[in-house]
Point group: C3
Chain length 281, copies 3
């Protein structure tokens, strides 16, 4: 699973209702045993707590064996290509979760690899499992129609993946870049004041200092939200720093801990989806 | 579990006799299954072999799932607070073992976290599980009355935790700082020559170079022990370097391998204690 | 297991036919349970993907508990000796797989350790499990008589281990150093042109830049192989860089993915061999 583009409506529903799917599957001893003998490989070339730990936890929760490959302990140091590393690791497990700084790295890896590769972030490219858990959380809220993305949209893989996924699902996605240079090239930019009164979810992104860009400063405050619906919920993929004012940390509109709480479940669903899909080949 | 201060006599006895407690518990299939489905999270912000590996081994020995969070792979790099990291990780496991360089970090983490946090060393603060395994080892020896701490006492979390725990249990604790500046502010300092003849356990600490202090040199030699009881045992939390002379490495009075050998068992007892306490809530 | 020197013919056969040995063993519930309660400790002081991950996978595949000790998280930082680290870790597991930069480190570790230590590379010393999986792969090919080693032979632990193992097994081993300074002191050096027509396996080694040596440049090309048998197979312990020309990457004569694919199986056999040997003590 490399991009949300490849997800059919049926696949999305399978991952969303995955709780039921894999609970049913797991209630049958044979299905549980099938997963219990599969090995999940974690291959992270970039730092991550949330995605790394939630895939690890998802694998453990499914009873899988988990094999984390330490990058500081890896042949990368000896100059091995991603392709050769993945070709090697496919002999040691049944599914590879890959985070890598290069756009398209997940697809590159899949091309040389017979076991499924799951994209856990490919640079400024995509982050489909984050998008799926965000969709899960948005649907859980009940009556969301409009999702507004705010901040550095240009360098955000979450915005790229989630806005495509939401569009597929009939949500209205609006883009409010924090600065003229931070918009998406293929989407119209709005001002916050144009959309604040009817936005249901405000999705705030992090200034992408890691990608070698100079961070533009911006901050969501209570004042900025004063014209919003009382039912507004604020999303963030975490970790956040100054782009969310400390006064919103404990605000009931904050939805980020809900996102985190759904992460393990949705990633377990993704693992089941990917491994069941494979077992039918 | 953050400090030995919070441990009642009953709790101490449960951890000490834990072998029996958790062996009984584990002989009942339901109890064993309850542990087998729980996930132990290891969150170490500071280097450690012994404590890290013995908690890891304790979890595995109990049949738990173990999720180590690599700090070099963590959102710390993105500037996330300890509180937010712990809030995130509580969604991924049932108990968090935390080592962190700041005094009080374990309590800070617990305040925002619904799953139990176990302090595996909070800077110069406390190290309650080391103290518990040392108490276990001291009680195992049989007839210890007087424990003398020697070396850098001021910066040692082990001295802080263990001396409080031993005092609760009726042992006599004596402090022999290796230098006038290295004593505990709230305990009288003795000279080794005042206490060497009746000391049962000599607990030697490491010069705390890690805490940014200039290490004062001191060394325990055979000569220093010549007036001691033949039954004297020397403790050390390891690793040691020059503060123990090489001539004592294989000395029968050395007790440090006994301490290590008890570490996994006592930490397994602590995990059972903490998780059973929780399951009754 | 420290050197191929210590392996009897019977031990070699047990590891080679290990598939059968441990499949039989595992089909008996008691044997499977015996392994399931044993803990495999991975102690790697040097970077490695292949060896690390394949031992990890082998342990998981056998149903063992796996405890990886992160070196960056280790008391090495506090100046602890290898001996003390291993003495500590033997309390936490049943077998230690050790990679360490010093020749003889595996034997040094074993001397102070009651659980078996498996050498996963001791500097320029030996790499017996790599040699065993290479022997397994060579035997799998069927009709190999002559194995020619090419490249930096002097600093290669794989050449050292494998040539001794092959000699024991009646294979002809020939040495073609890429440069006059890169030969083995105790083996005659050949020119490639003297041996190319009858060589069955060409084993190419990596220039050993890690060991602080200046790498001599050399490269195997299609042209170099034009007089070879059509059945020639090229081996490499991976990762490779320029010593194999890119034009050979997808060549049917390349055998390195076969080597990798056999790695997990042979290392599982080694673990079974070592643990069964022990359980009879």
């Amino acid at each position: 699973m490399h991009s949300v583009d490849e997800l059919s409506s049926a696949a999305i529903e399978r991952v969303m209702s995955g709780a039921a799917v894999h609970d049913n599957a797991l209630s049958q001893p044979t299905a549980r045993d099938a997963l219990a003998h599969k090995t999940l490989i974690l291959l992270f070339y970039e730092p991550s707590t949330r995605t790394y730990a939630s895939f690890y936890a998802a694998g453990l929760r499914l009873g899988m064996r988990v094999l984390p490959v330490p990058v500081h302990n890896s042949s990368v140091l000896k100059g091995e290509s991603l392709e050769d590393t993945v070709r090697t690791l496919q002999e040691m497990g049944d599914v590879i979760v890959l985070r890598h700084p290069d756009i398209g790295s997940s697809l590159r890896a899949q091309r040389v690899c017979r076991v499924p590769v799951i994209n856990a972030g490919d640079g400024a490219g995509e982050h489909p499992t984050q998008a799926l858990l965000d969709l899960f959380t948005i649907r859980q809220l009940g009556s969301v129609k409009t999702v507004t993305f705010f901040g550095d949209l240009k360098h955000s893989r979450v915005v790229r993946s989630l806005s495509k996924l939401l569009a597929k699902q009939g949500f209205i996605c609006l883009m409010v870049p924090a600065h003229a240079d931070l918009g998406l090239p293929d989407a119209p930019a709005h001002e916050w004041r144009e959309v604040d009164t009817f936005t249901d979810v405000l999705y705030v992104t992090r200034p992408q200092v890691e990608r070698g860009k100079i961070a533009v400063k911006y901050q969501v405050t209570k004042k900025m939200l004063e014209r919003c619906k009382p039912t507004l919920r604020i999303f963030h993929a975490l970790p956040h720093t100054d782009e969310i004012h400390a006064e919103l940390e404990e605000d009931p509109r904050a939805a980020w801990w809900l996102q985190v709480a759904n992460g393990v479940q949705v990633r377990a669903n993704v693992l089941c989806h990917v491994l069941q899909a494979r077992s039918r080949l």
